[in-house]
Symmetry: D2
Amino acid sequence: MSFTFKDRISLTIFGSSHGEAVGAILEGIPAGYRIDSNLIQEWMERRAPGRNAITTQRKESDVVRIISGLNNGYTDGGSIALMIQNEDAISKHYDDLKERPRPGHGDLSLYLKYGEYRNYSGGGFLSGRMTAPLVAAGSIALQILRSTGINVVSYLEQIGQISSTCTAPEEEKIYELETRMGDSNADRQAKELILKLISEGDSVGGVVRTVISNVPGGLGEPFFDSVESVLSHLMFSIPGVKGIEFGLGFSLSEMKGSKANDPFKWNGQNFYTERNTNGGILGGITYGDPVEFRVAMKPTSSIRIEQSTINITTHQEERIRVKGRHDPCIAIRAVPVITCTTAIGILDLYLRMRSSDKGNSENYSGN
Amino acid sequence: MSFTFKDRISLTIFGSSHGEAVGAILEGIPAGYRIDSNLIQEWMERRAPGRNAITTQRKESDVVRIISGLNNGYTDGGSIALMIQNEDAISKHYDDLKERPRPGHGDLSLYLKYGEYRNYSGGGFLSGRMTAPLVAAGSIALQILRSTGINVVSYLEQIGQISSTCTAPEEEKIYELETRMGDSNADRQAKELILKLISEGDSVGGVVRTVISNVPGGLGEPFFDSVESVLSHLMFSIPGVKGIEFGLGFSLSEMKGSKANDPFKWNGQNFYTERNTNGGILGGITYGDPVEFRVAMKPTSSIRIEQSTINITTHQEERIRVKGRHDPCIAIRAVPVITCTTAIGILDLYLRMRSSDKGNSENYSGN
Amino acid sequence: MSFTFKDRISLTIFGSSHGEAVGAILEGIPAGYRIDSNLIQEWMERRAPGRNAITTQRKESDVVRIISGLNNGYTDGGSIALMIQNEDAISKHYDDLKERPRPGHGDLSLYLKYGEYRNYSGGGFLSGRMTAPLVAAGSIALQILRSTGINVVSYLEQIGQISSTCTAPEEEKIYELETRMGDSNADRQAKELILKLISEGDSVGGVVRTVISNVPGGLGEPFFDSVESVLSHLMFSIPGVKGIEFGLGFSLSEMKGSKANDPFKWNGQNFYTERNTNGGILGGITYGDPVEFRVAMKPTSSIRIEQSTINITTHQEERIRVKGRHDPCIAIRAVPVITCTTAIGILDLYLRMRSSDKGNSENYSGN
Amino acid sequence: MSFTFKDRISLTIFGSSHGEAVGAILEGIPAGYRIDSNLIQEWMERRAPGRNAITTQRKESDVVRIISGLNNGYTDGGSIALMIQNEDAISKHYDDLKERPRPGHGDLSLYLKYGEYRNYSGGGFLSGRMTAPLVAAGSIALQILRSTGINVVSYLEQIGQISSTCTAPEEEKIYELETRMGDSNADRQAKELILKLISEGDSVGGVVRTVISNVPGGLGEPFFDSVESVLSHLMFSIPGVKGIEFGLGFSLSEMKGSKANDPFKWNGQNFYTERNTNGGILGGITYGDPVEFRVAMKPTSSIRIEQSTINITTHQEERIRVKGRHDPCIAIRAVPVITCTTAIGILDLYLRMRSSDKGNSENYSGN
């Protein structure tokens, strides 16, 4: 059921890179939440291709049509259907690729799974184009979360070996800079690097950091639906993600307990720790600190530099030069995708908590 | 639904650290697979506490009772119910902790989620004890996978800053060494470190590496149920896991595409690449290379060294000295847990593939 | 998750009676099945309103746009997205109803569940209009089932107290007659009745009988996903359904075991019974006989005759005369809806069987 | 995933008729509900075999062991594991049946689905014995529902052609009479009939009627998870159920709308209707009236009278005389099973409503 993420809310995406449209059905949203369609569109712009010199030149207006689920600007309890037309697909770029899978790309996987029936044009439904409906639906989840006080902010912490000095990200500043690095110095360096890579026909990876603030304690479910499980499941759905760590993550594996453990404190309203080494999650469940995680994005696999590959029919080695218009660094456009997709997961856990904790709430005041 | 992992197969665990028993219900396993209960027990021994000087001294025989689902040694299509008695719980060690949550542990989360109704003795259902049913059920999945030729092997690549030189792990060698590092030199160094930490009352983290070999191409589902999504969801269910990366993972984020991309080759039977930079998964789906991933485990949070914490009722700072018997390095006993839990996820994807690809298989020979 | 039916396949519907469109996302269909869009359209015509004098006069062309999931006429493994525009909604008919719920209709339920945010125009998402996407998606499932030899046929066994003499329904004959009764004598009587009811502003109920032939033995899952459970779940999703019985159903409750039991026989290829008293299902699972069930549809609740109701705000009794265009007997247009929705359930169970029985099939020849 | 019923709460059952034990895992119950284990046991007694002359003579003490999920008498948020030993299985009665499926029973289905690997002793996991864990788990759900004011009561409306005059069932009176008919005259007649059937080696069917009172309006989800869908799904999981109808059910199919429609009224606190023709559900959702439904149970298929069947290996007709101890009328012991299983479904919908309606509840007072 791989196009559906589902527990308390359900998100189904559809469409393909070079088909008529892409879209999403978001279900399980309670009635009565006010949704501003301008804000949906603002997030679409942040993800949209062709808006500047350092992303892909495919031009898409990416206007979201809301087919159902909103009534006079409020959610009506029905399934929210969203559609985004594809306007600038150039399928001929893919004729060469039918028999010759791009290294580092899902072309060969698609062939092995679906054989002759595969939809390979533009990467079919394995395309980064499918993140457009993720952003459309996720930005609705984000609006609802923000109405409760919870916030999600992501920024690009690293492009190749260039690091941002930003640690307390502010959304407006992040989207003022084309690289989303939240640091004008890093932004300038990164743009230089990317323009150089474009001229070379190469690409580069990056790391996106996300901070979820004002998370109530008790969010997340024990064991299989820990906050980390739910968020990592969603993050690895996003094309190009190859790693995730919460809090200090891999660094924790080198540390002693006496150093990694973070004493709990009380600030008069909430519990917190000073270093948040565990990224706000212990036992899979939040306790008051912000949830923090880092996502590793690999370099775009579609590059203009000539590469070697295998012909899937003849099994002979062949040379390939990938045409089409591709991002030199997909991590840049992944920033809003990660924010909005995170919002889906957190809203789901929030609605679960609302259903499962009421029994308690009449009996204790801990939460 | 956090105690259930469910798609084609369903795994539900139950019990708690200091209750009567822990157990698992494994469902969706087709009838007709031969299951050797000695092999289940062998895996339980590999995870069991109290077997040597470098793990916790809690003694549990960890004998698995098979209540249903097997008939004359074969799966019968019904739900497989497994039970493991708790024999050596010492609850008094936890009396001190009721009001004073252990730093780095889920005690505070449990309180915030369940209030006065929480089951805190031994960590309740957030305990590492819950990995016993994961191993029992997962070892059944592993037997089935191995009957199809797919194998899963894990080992401890790193304890603190000590690294194993092992790269092609063999199961027998791994379990000959108490540290599971697959390298007798690293094993000796690590044991020294751990004995020193025990004497200091401290703990340390580690990194577990897993290799899944003979994976058929086409395994995994596009988007939300990518191989990475399914495996990371399961891995973050295991207590102490704070990061995961597939293939080169975080290193990919620093690389150029021209270096990260791996040309496809053909070995006469399968497609493969020479460096497997993507850990055997592209577009969320396998293409022939082994699936490879690394999991970061944090140091055990329960340490004897005195720490500061907060009283949950008075909100005053207090000092705490954690009693009870705890692993100095949970990553060691996590090795079989990760192997068996991985088998659950891969078997699930395997059964999905069997259901979804038959339409194809009569029409093409790619897979 | 009420707009999604999900196990091996997933069906999500969206839209509302008076919104821009209705549609469906069908997921989990293996790649490589040939789908004829003319056949989809043929089923849409069979359900479509405004095609004759005995159904509602709302005119909808009900053309299905296939947004994704098909590639050169074959399923491509992606999510199949289907859209149907709404063309002839007249919302003003519903202005009177906002405060005054129609007796026998879901208006009051909708108000109690969603309050002021409810979408009440045309019944919102509780409308019979939502059965259009059920037919579109279900007719795809039906094409796939038929390619395996399984068939589903439904007809109207009863309208009010007029009964059809048809017992072995043939699809072409059923759709030649406007009442779908498969019996020209009953058809004539029923049309007379309906025209009379139209003139009186009244409506009438009916019973739809469905026969699924060539069902393989072993279809269905024990306990919670019995064939009866899966089909009844789907049938009660269809507006107006109030009862279901399999085989002799309620009559069995009056019978002795010695009379109800049906001896098994062997016809050289399959097991069968002579009277099929259990509707082809025993222990929730098929054994060779056709699956047979009857569905009770209530009379259309929207009638022109003046009725009493309650004002939801003032709680005063008021008189109501329902405007709008409504079917005098929804059971007629329910016939193709039931056929196509049944196909969804049976295809789901068929794909589950394919995944779960292969372990067996190499070992025994019983199935 | 047929042993698991799952949405907001999840219920997994395990075991088999002649195995060591049967049991259930109930998950998703919020922490903090007080559960009285004596009440669980009282419901087990109501279902238990061998308690009087008119049910099966198998003797089972049916004591429920609570393995986890309760802490000092309150739910603790973990998975509630329940186990019931099997004490009086006599497997030799089934030796004769291996090759010769009982008419009207699931033996042949089991063979066709699982082949030689099937667990046929006592019907394996298709046995009525599996309703013991349904009652254990369901009685917990019932306790929680009753703490909110919602009640579920079932009684036997009909045995064969003997009807109860009871219409407003009271639980205590129902369980005073061995037939559960709530009417001492019908009870006496029914007992005579059953004793006669026992002497003849025959059996009889029945109809169970259930009334759910104090149901809040707005319970149930539109379309696929209507109250009718959820309850019918669960009811058809119970062995022997062949039909269900809500409100007037099949009778509605013969009625005119003008007669079937029920005007809404207001009693000062709730909406209601005078005749409740729709069984408290409109548009799949409750509006204030009690939910009412009737379930048709077929006669026990295992009868002592000699019958004809087919040998599954030789395909020859053979004669069979079913040994073992069987209920002459399973409908009697189905009464508490239906009550408790209904509670599972209603509690699930109740928890969904709690999660999905809060957005509203701050904004309107309709519910």
